[in-house]
């Protein structure tokens, strides 16, 4: 191997930082080293890219319950004798690899459940876990002997997971996964993010394929979300937020087929109603957007809500085909 001094130093830094407990002084020292010479950063980036690419071997992990074998790759990693020598190395194909490996396994029978707009459904699975589907939701359930896999294809669902440490319960929504052993939580899949609210117990958030291999909730692997917290996962990462009990209750009021608000802006409230109804509310007057709305409403009972807006909030509603336009009653 090369004895390039910069390369050696870069590897030392990578290994040190990989311990994951670096104090800020150490990170400062690392940054000083990196900034000393552009080649330092380049050598480090090359090794960091290698290190990251190696994460992909996780998909080779024997099985969920297998004991840890430090020597596992010794034989498994040996090439087949006829294997072609390869030069090119596209390390970014993690998704493709995971998908390919998934396809190999013959999956247990999967079931699809769905609700229409304004619909609601509660199902109890064979393992006694319960799932509630909110409006316009579609999900796929696959109960295997080693793992319970749920794919939230769209919409929102709450999960009451029956405890079974030998069969982790993994909910995936796009690139976001939630791992639970026994707990109660809610997953809302939006266009560019996924919101996970934990009502009871705790869950782990991470890439679905990683979670499906995780044996337990391992806090050092991925963020844990505990009861009373909401996590928003998007391409920017995972943001955690603590919520008071009543805020959680409001968030989950849909389980009683209600919507609950406490000083939410009218534009947020309208967005909520529009998830449940074909007839869409449209705010045409910016001055009413910021109205603060509180109370309990049945989401499919639009007329009632519009009446309240007109009588108590100074809003004028005008029917327009399949839309209801909302403006300030004071205007004009």
């Amino acid at each position: 191997m090369n004895e390039n001094e910069i390369d050696i130093r870069a590897a030392e830094w990578l290994a040190r930082l990989d311990r994951g407990d670096a104090a800020s002084e150490l990170i400062d020292e690392f940054n000083r080293w990196k900034d000393l010479d552009t080649r330092h950063g380049a050598a480090y980036a090359r090794l960091a890219a290698t290190w990251q690419a190696l994460d992909r071997v996780q998909v080779l992990q024997p099985t969920l319950d297998a004991t840890i074998q430090p020597d596992y790759l010794r034989e498994q990693g040996r090439p087949a004798p006829d294997r072609r020598k390869a030069a090119a190395f596209a390390a970014a194909a993690s998704v493709v690899i995971a998908a390919a490996l998934w396809a190999w396994r013959s999956p247990p029978r999967a079931e699809i459940y769905e609700t229409t707009r304004g619909g609601f459904q509660r199902i109890v699975l064979k393992d006694h876990s319960a799932i509630e589907l909110n409006t316009d939701t579609r999900l796929r359930v696959e109960l295997g002997s080693k793992i319970r896999k749920i794919e939230l294809i769209r919409g929102e669902a709450s999960f009451e997971v029956s405890h079974d440490a030998t069969r982790p319960f993994v909910v995936s929504a796009g690139r976001t996964g939630v791992l639970a052993v026994g707990t109660r939580f809610d997953v809302l899949r939006l266009d560019n993010s996924v919101e996970v609210t934990v009502d009871e117990g705790r869950v782990m958030i991470g890439a679905p394929e990683m979670l499906e291999r995780a044996r337990n909730l391992e806090p050092n692997l991925s963020p844990l979300v505990v009861a009373g917290q909401t996590a928003v996962a998007s391409s920017d990462g995972v943001k955690l937020k603590a919520l008071p009990k009543d805020a959680i209750a409001r968030k989950l009021a849909w389980q009683d087929q209600m919507l609950a608000f406490d000083g939410d802006s009218l534009s947020e409230v309208v967005a909520q109603f529009n998830r449940y109804n074909d007839k869409q509310l449209v705010i045409v007057d910016p001055s009413v957007e910021v109205l603060k709305v509180g109370g309990y409403f049945r989401p499919t009972n639009l007329d009632e809500f519009v009446n309240v807006l007109e009588s108590n909030f100074g809003v004028r509603a005008t029917a327009d085909g399949n839309r209801i336009l909302l403006a300030s009653a004071a205007a004009k």
């Binding site: 390039n4 030392e12 990251q52 996780q58 840890i68 294997r83 390390a91």
Partner: protein, 196 residues
């Protein structure tokens, strides 16, 4: 660019050409250490690109070799004894002739096999450490406990292991760890030798 994204970009667009890049540089540098140095300098230039310059690059492979060529030219100009032959030759070389052939591209399964193989080829202790770290995702501290060695020893194995893996995956030169490519690097006599 976010660090994870940058790593992915680096591996996917740049490092896959490192072998070819080294072959190219071997035309001008006799000394292995000089090649390492030129590779680093080339990467440093790519990573130092401004956001707008970065966004403007359409073909990273061509850009990589052009950068390497510029690095080489700079070195030649700075070296005390300027070889006009070297300058003449580098001006006429078509950098894109250095592309790895298309059939060298790997499918996802082969890539995975190569990664596993890079770890499999490590010396015993080092392989165990990287297996626990990467296959099982254990933190260094737990690896130390499990293998009954100190954390600083684990750290040393990680440092050594990542360099060896990078070498196998991207550099593939003669010497150790060449199971993936037993063909010796064909190296012409260097046109000049920086280390005199």
């Amino acid at each position: 660019m976010h660090q994870t994204e940058r790593n992915t970009w680096l591996a996917k667009e740049i490092l896959i050409h490192e072998r070819a890049l080294r072959r190219y540089l071997a035309r001008f540098f006799r000394n292995m250490a000089d090649i390492d140095d030129a590779v680093q300098e080339t990467y440093a230039r790519l990573l130092g690109l401004s956001e707008s310059a970065f966004a403007a690059v359409r073909n990273w492979q061509a850009f990589l070799f052009t950068s390497a060529r510029n690095v080489t030219l700079d070195r030649i100009r700075k070296s005390r004894v300027v070889s006009y032959d070297a300058l003449a030759e580098i001006e006429t070389l078509h950098v894109l002739d250095q592309q790895p052939s298309a059939d060298e591209a790997l499918n996802a399964r082969q890539e995975l096999a190569l990664l596993a193989e890079a770890i499999a080829n490590l010396p015993d202790r080092c392989r165990e450490v990287l297996t626990l770290r990467k296959l099982y995702g254990l933190p260094q501290r737990e690896i130390a406990l499990r293998l009954g060695i100190s954390e600083s020893t684990v750290e040393k194995h990680v440092a050594y292991g990542v360099r060896l893996c990078a070498e196998q995956m991207f550099a593939q030169r003669s010497g150790q760890g060449t199971r993936l490519d037993s063909a010796p690097t064909t190296r012409r006599k260097g046109l000049f030798d920086e280390r005199k």
